[in-house]
């Protein structure tokens, strides 16, 4: 029974990682940059939902919508102000800027909302009892998995079936050529950030519903884990992010349960290293050789 419990915990944790990882993967795939501020956008989303639901007592759906709207706007603003001026700069400069934005958001949140930890009100309560006293699944876990699958299918359809999605794929393959074909690369990248940040808002609400503490640094650790998940599954690949996220959640939980609670992170990263040794592009990443 405890095995099944661990599987459930792993999948629900993993599906949250997966949603965050989708944001990383989208931005990396199109803008070819690691947006380390992604984790902190999650935190902002969670705060928005917290204020809407906790302080103004709005219904959960309004909280989620507010979080999505604010994060989308925040994502676009961050991209315009911080990343767009660096479009031609070396990727290292962009990476450092992203880390700077991350600290800016954390410290900004601390000034605005204080350092004290807040307790998030879950958007859904209760658990589904499968075997009394032994096996149960919380509704939040079910919601996370469902959200994760819906988001992944939605994103796949979006990138393969719509015109906007096509422009995104074009930009991801070759920015210069896409521009020559009349695609507005800047607008496409802004769009990507908007989608990524909206996903971050959803992930923030789900994460804080599952683990209801909220502080200005809430987003940073899950952000790094999810980044690992994205690399694990093959960064740039949408199904890869899902697979990477779920696997990471399961490995982490199993590592804790059957190896050592202290070494769970080490186990996760050891698996990552082995996977990358065998498949350098990640589980579902495409290996694209550079043509000389």
């Amino acid at each position: 029974m405890s095995f099944l419990n661990n599987v459930i915990t792993g999948i629900s944790l993993g599906s949250i990682y997966a949603i965050i990882a989708l944001g990383y993967t989208m931005v990396y795939g199109i803008a070819k940059m690691l947006n380390f501020a992604h984790g902190d956008v999650i935190m902002v989303g969670a705060y928005m939902a917290f204020f809407a639901m906790g302080r103004f007592e709005l219904p959960a759906i309004a909280g989620v919508l507010l979080a999505v709207v604010v994060c989308t706007a925040l994502g676009i603003v961050i991209e315009r102000l911080a990343y767009k001026p660096l479009r031609q700069a070396p990727s290292l400069a962009v990476l450092i800027t992203a880390i700077g934005v991350s600290y800016f958001l954390q410290n900004g949140a601390q000034i605005l909302w204080g350092a004290a930890t807040k307790t998030f009100t879950p958007i859904v309560n209760g658990t589904l009892v499968l075997v009394p006293e032994q096996l149960s699944i919380s509704y939040v876990a079910i919601l996370s998995v469902v959200c994760c699958i819906v988001v992944m299918i939605g994103l796949t359809l979006f990138t393969t079936r719509t015109k906007m999605g096509k422009t995104m794929r074009a930009c991801s393959e070759d920015k210069a050529a896409a521009q020559l074909m009349g695609i507005n690369v800047d607008a496409t990248i802004s769009m990507t950030f908007a989608i990524g940040s909206a996903l971050a808002a959803i992930a923030g609400v789900l994460m804080c519903s599952a683990y209801p503490v909220l502080s200005p640094t809430t987003g940073s650790m899950p952000g790094i884990r999810a980044f690992t998940a994205a690399v694990f599954g093959g960064i740039g690949s949408i199904p890869g992010a899902l697979l990477g996220g779920i696997l990471l959640g399961i490995i982490e939980t199993f590592g804790k349960a059957y190896i050592s609670t202290d070494l769970s992170d080490a186990v996760v990263f050891a698996v990552l290293i082995i996977v990358l040794l065998v498949k350098p592009a990640g589980l579902m990443g495409k290996y694209v050789p550079e043509k000389v």
Binding site: T9, N107, T117, T119, S136, L214
Partner: protein, 407 residues
């Protein structure tokens, strides 16, 4: 030559300006540049000439940004209230207070300490957390500054350093006290411990608890750890405790992870008695926290914000008026630190003409003299041992209907 003179004059002016700028009270992050002057500075040397009260400069260090900011700001604000009260007393000693951010990190704490030395601090108040405090303590030991920490509770802070004193219990002291309390009150039959073994505070208490429990014959059926306080999932650890049949879980951890543990225990229908250490204090004041989760929780805390004595009531009122939240024990420890320093300084003859080294030795003599005791918010008749440890009674409170009830 003219240029050189002009430069020299400009330099002299900057120095003079910087020397004037040392009077800001708190949060003065820009350290004045007059190293040469401040080293030679003695407490209240300008006050001596005018015959007024002696001013002691207290340099505080703690995390006011970052992960641990809620503890650092509590010690900062709590002490500020005491400083304001003391200065309003018009006693023989006045305090000047400057608090620097260490973000809970050792090397930042050392720069904060250097800033405070440049500012002309006479006494060091801090650090809030153990790890940076150990580093700063070895610096103050070498430089001979008297140091009093509100909340860094590891014995590493005071080990081998005669100049460092604690306002809070030591970690092993709390672990031992917890085991004794459980034994004396017959709480629980099978015990489990969940602690953060990446943290000195948590593992210090847990180790002493486990050792003492072994001595007393308490049966510990599960010992579970987690690596850092940002961990969010404790179901694996709780399952292990549940499977082992523990009916009392000792949680020598901070309240943020503890709130998650209570939440997850409820979700899995596991309801043992939870027993916490002083790091658990503050949980009830988390915004949005469902207080019913903490119902029946026992914790050792030196400070109860719903206490009814005049001093506590007045402190809580002032703190709430200034910051909008209830003070926790970190704030109360900070408050008591200021009074301890103040009362000790009042007992020293000629405190105004002492160098930092002399003041340090004089304060050590008072603190360890045997007859010195302080009444504060976190205990009455608090005294100190020569190893820097505080001696006061632990208080256990139980959460009933969302408030502390002293046991």
């Amino acid at each position: 030559m003219k240029k050189f003179l002009a430069l020299l004059l400009a330099l002299a002016m900057t120095l003079a300006l910087a020397a004037c700028g040392g009077n800001d009270s708190q949060n003065d992050n820009s350290a004045p540049a007059d190293n040469t002057q401040s080293d030679a500075q003695t407490p209240g040397d300008d006050a001596q000439s005018s015959g007024e009260a002696v001013t002691i400069k207290i340099g505080g260090i703690g995390p006011i940004t970052g992960d641990l900011a809620q503890y650092g700001t509590a010690t900062q604000w709590g002490a500020q209230i005491a400083v304001d009260e003391i200065n309003a007393l018009n006693g023989p000693v006045k305090l000047e207070y400057n608090f620097q951010d260490d973000t809970g990190v050792s090397d930042t704490a050392v720069s904060a300490y250097n800033n405070l030395k440049d500012w002309g601090a006479n006494v060091i108040y801090g650090c809030t957390t153990t790890t940076p405090c150990v580093t700063v303590a070895s610096e103050t030991y070498a430089d001979r500054y008297f140091q009093l920490t509100p909340s860094a509770s590891s014995t590493d802070v005071t080990d081998g350093k005669d100049n460092v004193f604690q306002m809070c219990f030591t970690d092993p002291g709390q672990g031992t006290a917890a085991a004794n309390y459980l034994k004396d009150n017959g709480l629980g039959t099978k015990y489990a411990v969940i602690y953060n073994n990446g943290d000195q505070y948590s593992s210090g208490i847990a180790d002493a608890f486990i050792a003492k429990a072994g001595e007393l014959g308490l049966e510990i059926v599960a010992t579970q750890t987690y690596p850092e306080d940002t961990t969010t999932d404790y179901t694996v650890q709780l399952n292990a405790c549940k499977d082992a049949g523990a009916d009392l879980v000792f949680l020598p951890i901070y309240y943020t992870p503890a709130s998650l543990i209570l939440n997850q225990a409820k979700q899995m229908d596991y309801a043992p008695t939870f027993f916490g250490a002083d790091g658990m204090d503050g949980m009830l004041d988390m915004e949005g926290f469902d207080k019913s989760l903490a119902e029946g929780l026992l914790l050792m805390t030196p400070f109860n914000a719903s206490g009814t004595d005049d001093r506590t009531v007045s402190f809580v009122e002032k703190y709430q008026a200034d910051h909008g939240i209830l003070p926790n024990q970190f704030a109360a420890d900070g408050y008591d630190c200021m009074y301890a320093i103040y009362e000790a300084c009042c007992q020293i003859e000629g405190v105004g003409s002492m160098s930092n080294e002399e003041l340090c030795d004089a304060l050590i003599a008072v603190f360890t003299g045997g007859s010195f005791s302080v009444d504060g918010l976190t205990g009455s008749g608090m005294s100190w041992l020569t190893n820097g440890e505080v001696s006061k009674d632990p208080v256990v409170v139980k959460v009933e209907n969302g408030a502390y009830v002293t046991q």
